[in-house]
Every structure is written in C-alpha cells, then in structure tokens.
C-alpha cells in the first residue's frame, strides 16, 4: 500500500515536473527560437547569467521573474472573484489531463508491477474530453469578468470555436475506439505494438481531423480568432497581467504538450518503437538481468514517448509559424461544413471495413 502510494507520488511529480516545470518554460524559448530560425533570424539571446547566455535559454527564467513581479491589475467594474478564478479554471484542466495519459507500458521491477500512468481509468479517453471542455468555462468567464468589450468578443469566439471543434474531436475519436475496442488509454497504447497497427495507419483521415480540431481547441494560429491581435487586442486575456496572464500563457503551452501526448497515444504507437517489439528489445537487454533490463526498457519507452511528443510539438510550432489566421466565418465553415461530415463519413467507413474484415 505504502509502496503504491510512493510510486504514484513519484509518477505525479514526474508528470508535473515534465509538463509544468520543464515543458512550459522551455516551450516559450522553443517558440521564440524556432520561429526565428524558420524566418532566418537569430532569436532571443540577450538574457545572460554572468555573461553566459546558453542560446537564450535564460529568457524563460527572465519571463518567469517578470510575471511574478508585475502588478496584478484588476480593471474597474470587473468582477474581482471571477477575474481571479478564470485563469485557474483555464490552467488546471490542461495539467489534469495528464492524469490518464500513459507515458510507458507496464513493467515488473523487483516484484512490483509498475504501470506508467497516474490513474488507469476505464474511461480514460472520455475523462480527457470531459476535463478539456471545462477549460472553455475559464476562457468564457475571463472575457465576461474583465468588463471589456474586446475580452467579451474574444471569449464569445472562444466558446463557439471550442464547442464547434469539440464535436469533430469527439466524433473522430469514435473511429479510434471502433478500431481498438477500448476507452482505456493504456490498452489503446499497448494495442499499437506492431508498426502497421498504429492508429495513423488505421485512421489516417481521423488523425488529420483530430490534429486540426485539437489545434483549433488550443486556439493557436491558424485558429487564433479568439485572441486575434490585429482585431481584438489580445482577446479574452486583454485585461490580465502578471501571473494571471502567465497562467493563460502556460495553459496554452501545456495544452500543446497534452495534444502531442494524446496524438502520440492514439495515433502514433504511444511508447512503441517502430519495427522493434518490446520483447526483442528485452532479449537484447537480457545480459543485465531481468529487473535491470526491465528498468532500462522502461526508461527507453519513456524516452521514445517524449521524443514523439516533442516531434508533435515541433509540428504544431511549424504550423503556427507557417499559416496565416483563418477568418472567423472560415473557421466555422471548416468546422461544421467540412470536418463534421468528414468525421461522420470516417465512422461509417470504419464500421464498414471492420464489418468486412470480420
């Protein structure tokens, strides 16, 4: 019992450490640097500690210090309670989603079964969607509580956009469920051991629709109508400053990691290496003894999983710095007139194919 508790705590600290402490600040640096390199620029490289710049990595620390020390401003006429509450509602679901995302398989170490997921829920995938849609409230409340017209417009756009694309996301997932026959994310991950049984090959259309819908959910360019700088100042977080703004900012980056993780688990073979089943890898590591071999295998799987996540983060960044913003009516048209019928057709085709194979 105590051992289980300790293992769970270690996993929680690992996930919090990776997402909040490591990914969120480093991604601000990655975004600056990648956009700079893509546009033939140099990028942020001024912040230094004792003349040592580390390619501009310290900008993340400088950002954090700036956000901690800035004035926390609440505009006149704003609802103070909701104004403070909404960034919390926005950031918590982003972190909470990781509770059910498996970042490795099941391993037996020194007689203890280690399952690399914090909470192995039977309805894991539904949990992800249930939690992710709570974040919508945060964005809507923030716009209303700010007492600012731009904010309200931004939050109205957020609400309509997120609701529209949630439909597509949910329907796309049904195709994945039909293929793997499970809502448990660990089982979906474990079912993709064989390279050709990856979700990407089972559901190619579903993958592209899911990625599009999840980028739209994250409100990043090309779907950044809710925070369009040239139209709405900064959208729903116009009136936020200091750490509250930082929380909105952080939720965006954590959500990027979440999207990467869920796409990896559902479509890109989770922690599996293509053409290299775990059993083969384990037999190569056999000279270490069973326990140590399992430990090394676990670390390799964690590394592979996060490598895939990092690839998808890179992919999202590339999209963000390549495409221009869609107009609002184009976003709605894409969501309701193109993606929704396509996702329904995807379910139909998947059903027919499964029926034909059986």
């Amino acid at each position: 019992m105590l051992l289980e508790l300790i293992i769970t705590l270690v996993k929680v600290f690992f996930i919090i450490g990776v997402t909040v402490v490591f990914f969120a600040p480093v991604l601000t640096w990655v975004e600056r640097k990648q956009s700079a390199i893509m546009q033939d620029r140099v990028g942020a490289n001024r912040a230094d500690i004792l003349g040592f710049t580390a390619l501009g990595l310290f900008h993340a620390i400088a950002d954090a210090i700036k956000m901690f020390t800035k004035e926390d401003f609440i505009p006149q006429g704003a609802n103070r309670f909701l104004h403070t509450l909404s960034p919390i509602i926005a950031v918590i679901p982003a972190i909470l989603t990781f509770a059910v995302v498996p970042f490795g398989g099941q391993y037996e170490l020194w007689g203890t079964k280690v399952n690399l997921v914090i909470s192995d829920l039977d309805v894991g995938l539904l949990f992800v969607f249930a939690i992710a849609s709570i974040a919508t409230y945060g964005y809507v409340i923030s716009g209303w509580a700010s007492n600012n017209n731009w904010s309200l417009l931004g939050s109205m756009r957020t609400a309509s956009q997120m609701i529209s694309y949630e439909v597509t996301m949910g329907l796309t997932i049904i195709g994945v469920l039909m293929v793997f026959g499970s809502l448990k994310l660990t089982e979906i991950g474990a079912a993709q051991e064989d390279f050709l049984s990856w979700g990407f090959f089972m559901q190619p259309l579903g993958f592209f629709m899911f990625l599009t819908a999840s980028i739209a959910e994250n409100k990043r360019i090309p779907f950044d109508a809710p925070e369009a700088e040239s139209e709405l100042v900064a959208g729903y977080f116009t009136e936020y400053s200091g750490l509250k703004f930082g929380m909105f900012f952080m939720s965006e980056f954590i959500e990027m990691v979440t999207i990467g993780a869920i796409v990896t688990v559902l479509f890109f073979g989770a922690w599996h290496i293509p053409f290299l089943p775990s059993a083969t890898l384990l037999s190569w590591l056999d000279f270490l003894g069973t326990n140590w071999a399992n430990l090394v295998l676990m670390l390799i799987h964690i590394g592979v999983f996060f490598a895939k996540v990092i690839f998808f983060i890179w992919f999202q960044m590339t999209i963000r710095w390549t495409l221009p913003r869609f107009r609002y009516d184009q976003i709605m048209k894409l969501g309701w007139k193109i993606l929704l019928p396509l996702s329904l057709a995807n379910i139909l085709i998947t059903g027919i194919v499964i029926l034909a194979i059986n």
């Binding site: 390199i37 893509m38 033939d40 140099v42 590339t318 710095w321 390549t322």
Partner: protein, 189 residues
C-alpha cells in the same frame, strides 16, 4: 491603374481543399528551419567558422559601411599630431543646426608654429543633424564624416565633444578623404 484579382479561376477539388498549399508552405518553412539549424547552430557552438545565415548580430559584429555614409563628424589630426583645422569658422557658418562651436587661437610671433589653430572645438552631437555641410565647406580637409554611428548616450551634456574627443588620426580617414576629393572636387572648392 486599378488592379483586379481574377476570381473566376476554376480550382480543382484538390486545390480547393487547401491541403496542397499547406503542405507546400510547411515544406518551405521546415526547409528553412533545418537548413538554418545545421547552418548556424554549429557556428554558435563554435564548431564552425562560417555562418550560413546572413543576419548581422549587431553589437557583436558590424556590417561594412559604404564610404559615402555620414557618421559622426570628426577632426582630422595630421602627421605632426596637430589638427588640420585653421579655425576659419566656415563649418560653423555652414552648419544648419548650429552645433559647432570654435574658439580660435592666433600665433603671436613664434613663426615655427602654425599660423592659426582651434583652441577649442566643440560639436554637440545632440544637436548635429549629420548633413555633412561642414565637411563640404571645409577648405583644409580638416573635418570629416566618419563611419562611427554609435554615439547614443544616457546624458545629454556628455554629447558635447571637445577637441581631444573629436580628434582622429588622418590615416584612419584615408578613404573618406579620397571620397570627398572626388565628390566635392567637381565644383573646385
């Protein structure tokens, strides 16, 4: 003339799906990303001498400046370690911003010294508009526009440069001297 966009072009179904253009754009940006990544990250780590990205990292390195560039005006010091200036006051008169201030010194008998020289020569860079009229007016090749443009300061009073601060050996200004001879010689000043 008005510019008309032809919106009657019939796009194919594949083109209308917007995907091929997305893929093309992504290919271009990611090509730039990888070319620059392997072109300039090794340089940054000191493994490579040449950088394959042409952006100039300004404070560390400066772009070469064309000789016609008008930087801050300076006083040329000749081989005898004296300013070429004879304190005639033509630059002072030519200056449209009134930023030059000269106090002349006169020879009082010693014939081996120069006849006339500037006792004090002040240029207020906070006022100077970098027009180059002083250089054009100078009959003695004494004042030149240098290629130095890094003169911003936090204190406005410190922007008044005196004779010592303005002095630059004439060897450093050789190219500019040639250039002014070529440019202003046309009018036979």
């Amino acid at each position: 003339m008005a510019y008309f966009v032809d919106r009657t072009v019939k796009m194919t179904w594949w083109e209308r799906s917007y995907l091929p253009e997305i893929i093309r754009g992504m290919l271009i940006t990611s090509r730039h990303f990888f070319v620059n990544l392997f072109g300039f990250v090794p340089f940054f780590l000191g493994q490579k001498k040449e950088r394959e990205i042409f952006t100039v990292y300004y404070p560390e390195e400066m772009a070469p400046i064309p000789i016609a560039y008008r930087g801050r005006p300076v006083l040329a010091i000749n081989e005898d370690n004296l300013p070429n200036c004879v304190a005639c006051g033509l630059c002072e008169a030519a200056c449209p911003a009134y930023c030059i201030d000269i106090v002349p010194g006169e020879n009082t008998g010693k014939q081996n010294q120069v006849e006339r020289w500037p006792k004090e020569f002040t240029i207020d860079y906070a006022v100077c508009i970098f027009c180059g009229n002083c250089e054009e007016a100078c009959p003695e090749e004494a004042i030149f526009m240098s290629d130095d443009y890094e003169i911003p300061m936090l204190d406005r009073k410190k922007m008044k440069f005196n004779l010592e601060q303005l002095s630059v050996p004439i060897e450093k200004l050789k190219d500019r001297v040639e250039f002014t001879r070529k440019m202003y010689g046309k009018w036979n000043y």
